[in-house]
């Protein structure tokens, strides 16, 4: 291992062995460059957050082997504009969209197997290709292909610092098995993800409440490379205070719980906080369009906890949960089990039930079941919570990713604070996604950005190294 870190001259040094880093490494290697990938996780946990992903959104003008219909650039762009509310760099966003066309074939050629959407996913058959076996299967395929191409990989190798002078990278300080190495390379690709697993860093924005956050992805996204880049004078992009957060089961592991910790019961019941009162419209819109706001909503509640309460009627109507609900025969007993004030919860449920207006319940539509005279209202799927037994799930904010990153140009080249592009530093994936995703999220688009900019960064870095 250390031999790889010190022996031979490296053309392209890639920090981060997730989707973006591997795409960069494969492309650079295909272009003839000597490539070294530094992955800070051990082999079993390699791949960063890519190992938790499951699909990728790509543009296509006609149906292909996997996706139905057409998903043209303009519609893709409109979808993106809607979720980011204009907080995006349009030229880069359009580049990502255009460059995504045909990416399915490129991935398949490198061992990834795609399939139509999974059962019960949010009608993505036209827009998103799913990875057969999920993100870890994709990561495994890319590692196999990269190694076959001659890319060297060192696991448990952390980038502790970067030597950058006048916008030119010369070497990285790498810590591996307790020893420090100076790894020189002609070009550097930062593909090391965000900093969402770095709780002290999260506290800088959120304060002590960040202790109550659950990190859905890898514990290895500590943001060391990002910090080193910013310290070396790179220009930052994206709101440092923002992160993408969903509501997850409070019993989820602190890190790496991934997809299974989500709870999809919210539209079927009410959500109360620690004081046993409601705080937001649970039926505002379809859950797939709303689940992403609940992480933040709960983060803003006292104790950063919420409790979704349902009765017997919706059981079996939402995706099965990994942890069983707490089940009691009365609301008061349920309150006691949740350590809530039984009287207050009883009143909250009773007031909710009284304000429910008759309607036709339809989970597949924005139905007519609504409340009247209730604040906050429940706009749809409002049905009295009256049939025992009653179930509850406790929810915590589950952080998916952070938005802060480094600014890049169309060649994935990182900008200096001065606005000048660097000479040989490139970025791909979550570490630069903030250029395009200023806020919000579009399912499967993180992998699109990682793949597109990984490929660009790999190509440009190899070209630079060959000069």
């Amino acid at each position: 291992m250390p031999a790889m870190l010190s022996a031979h001259p490296i053309d392209v040094l890639v920090a981060g062995g997730g989707n973006a880093g591997l795409c960069a490494a494969m492309v650079a290697s295909e272009a003839g460059a000597r490539v070294l990938v530094l992955e800070c996780a051990p082999r079993d946990f390699r791949g960063g957050n890519s190992r938790h992903t499951r699909n990728l959104r790509y543009m296509h003008e006609a149906p292909d082997e996997i996706l139905t219909g057409a998903y043209p650039e303009e519609e893709f762009w409109q979808d993106l504009s809607r979720v980011t509310k204009g907080k995006t760099n349009e030229p880069l966003a359009r580049l990502a969209i255009r460059f995504s066309a045909g990416v399915g074939r490129w991935m398949t050629d490198r061992g990834v197997r795609l399939q139509p959407p999974l059962e019960g996913t949010l009608h993505l058959g036209r827009t998103n290709a799913f990875f057969l076996g999920g993100g870890k299967a994709l990561v495994n395929a890319y590692y196999r292909t990269a190694e076959h191409l001659g890319v060297e990989v060192v696991y448990q190798a952390e980038v502790a610092g970067l030597e950058v002078k006048d916008g030119a990278f010369s070497s990285a300080n790498v810590v591996h098995e307790g020893r420090e190495y100076r790894v020189a390379a002609k070009a550097f690709v930062a593909a090391s993800g965000g900093f969402e697993a770095n709780i002290p860093w999260l506290k800088e924005s959120w304060g002590e409440v960040a202790d109550n956050f659950i990190i859905r992805g890898t514990p290895y996204n500590q943001g060391r490379v990002l910090k080193a880049l910013l310290a070396a004078g790179m220009k930052q992009v994206g709101d440092p205070k923002q992160c993408h957060a969903v509501a997850v089961d409070g019993r989820a592991p602190k890190f790496d719980g991934g997809i299974v910790t989500r709870v999809d019961a919210v539209p079927f019941g009410i959500v109360v906080n620690q004081d046993a009162v409601r705080f937001y419209d649970e039926g505002e819109d379809f859950w797939p369009k709303r689940y992403a706001i609940w992480g933040r909503l709960i983060a803003e509640q006292p104790g950063q906890i919420g409790h979704v309460i349902i009765d017997a009627k919706p059981i079996g109507k939402f995706m099965p949960t990994v942890f069983p609900p707490i089940v009691r025969n009365s609301i008061r007993e349920l309150a006691e089990a949740l350590k809530l004030d039984p009287g207050v919860l009883d009143t909250t449920v009773e007031r909710f039930n009284r304000s429910v207006r008759p309607g036709t319940f339809d989970p597949g539509a924005l139905d007519s079941c609504t409340t009247e005279g209730l604040d906050p209202p429940k706009s749809h799927w409002a049905v009295a919570i009256d049939r025992p037994p009653f179930s509850a799930y406790s929810l915590r904010p589950g952080i998916t990713f952070t938005y802060l990153g480094v600014e890049v140009d169309r060649d994935a080249r990182i900008f200096l604070k001065s606005g000048e592009p660097t000479r040989n530093l490139y970025a791909a994936g979550e570490i630069m996604a903030g250029n395009i995703l200023g806020q919000g999220y579009l399912a499967g688009f993180g992998m699109t950005i990682g793949t597109v900019f990984g490929r660009i960064a790999g190509r440009k870095a190899a070209e630079h190294a060959a000069r």
Partner: protein, 364 residues
């Protein structure tokens, strides 16, 4: 792991898998799982027997050990399958043969070899055992025709009854009645003939013996499977020749029974060797070595049965024919006697599970 713990573990991981569903495209297990919200023992037995042990769901699992969720479907299901074999064995008193399967199988096979040897020595004319015999009916000078028919007929019938009872018990437990149509039978049969669920879901093959997709297991399993079928066909044709066409064994090389036997025999040499090598190269986390005993026992038995058959074929005109015939027939009899109490039964329950899957799967 005791059965109760295995079932608890099976339920635990199925609940995780059902909330994830990333493996849906790999095989039949996960779509079948998605039709359920609870995983009592009978459903776990069904899902475990639907599992072809391809390893994809382990190598592609974000929750596989060392993740704290430690999801290891192949290992757990393999354990549950072994329990199923015991649970559905007929007669139940013999289910103990699954315990210490290597020793039990060896004991049965040695007994059948001794039995055939004893039969040959006591029946054959004095000194005939070690004389070359040629021409039609030569085998019967060593082991009499009627003794062969009775011995093999009884053992084979016994095995068939054991399979049928096991199948019926499994079928009853695996789900509600359900009407079996010709289409269902056809689908399940085709799934077996193609080993569809060892294709990894995309046709690249399964992640066995290691993480990279490979067709190796499918190929060697096919050698074994079709080898077995060809040998069965050889025996059947020979029985028809003998009993209905008055053509007595041994048959010339260029005859249907011998040609079928040669093709099948090669399959039963190549397949078991290949599968055994793969087993020892396989990743020990989804394939713990302790769970390989029964598999390897069966493979060794198939190999030896075929190898003694070839020896007999090559040396049948020499003085070694007598002892070799007794040895080979001893292996064949031992093989048939142990079929219902070893790895072979996976075929019965796999077929039953695939049939159940065909029946319960909504037409798509």
């Amino acid at each position: 792991m005791p059965l109760a713990d295995l079932l608890k573990e099976g339920e635990r991981i199925m609940i995780i898998c059902n909330a994830c569903r990333y493996c849906e495209g790999h095989c039949a297990v996960f779509p079948a799982m998605e039709q359920r919200t609870e995983f009592p023992p009978r459903d776990l037995a069904y899902l475990a027997n639907l599992c072809h042990d391809c390893g994809s769901c382990y190598h592609h699992c974000q929750y596989a050990p060392p993740h704290e969720f430690a999801v290891n479907v192949p290992e757990t299901f393999k354990g549950i399958r072994e329990q199923t074999y015991r649970q559905y064995a007929w007669p139940r008193a013999l289910s103990g043969l699954f315990e210490s399967n290597a020793i039990a199988t060896a004991a049965v096979v040695i007994s059948t070899i001794v039995l055939l040897g004893f039969l040959a020595v006591s029946v054959a004319a004095p000194g005939a055992m070690y004389q070359p015999h040629e021409g039609p009916g030569a085998f019967y000078e060593i082991v009499p025709h009627d003794a062969m028919i009775v011995l093999f007929g009884v053992v084979w019938m016994f095995a068939l009854v054991a399979f049928a009872v096991g199948f019926a018990r499994f079928w009853r437990d695996s789900g509600p009645g359900g009407k079996i149509s010709a289409r269902h039978l056809g689908r399940a049969t085709l799934d077996i003939l193609r080993l569809r669920y060892l294709d990894g879901g995309a046709g690249d093959g399964c992640t066995y013996p290691r993480e990279a997709p490979s067709q190796a297991r499918r190929v060697f399993h096919h050698f074994t499977y079709y080898g077995f079928l060809f040998c069965l066909a050889s025996t059947t044709v020979a029985a028809i020749y003998d009993n209905f066409l008055a053509r007595k064994a041994p048959y010339p090389i260029l005859s249907a029974p011998v040609l079928l036997g040669i093709v099948g025999g090669v399959g039963l040499l190549v397949g078991p060797i290949g599968l055994s090598i793969l087993k020892f190269r396989s990743d020990p986390v989804p394939n713990p070595r302790s769970r390989l005993v029964m598999d390897v026992t069966f493979l060794v038995l198939l190999f030896l049965t075929s190898a003694t058959g070839f020896l007999l074929l090559v040396l049948r005109s020499t003085a070694a024919m007598g002892p070799l015939l007794a040895l080979h027939l001893g292996f064949v009899l031992g093989l048939f006697a142990t079929l219902p109490y070893g790895k072979f039964v996976h075929a019965v329950y796999r077929f039953a599970a695939l049939l159940r899957y065909a029946v319960e799967k909504p037409a798509s």
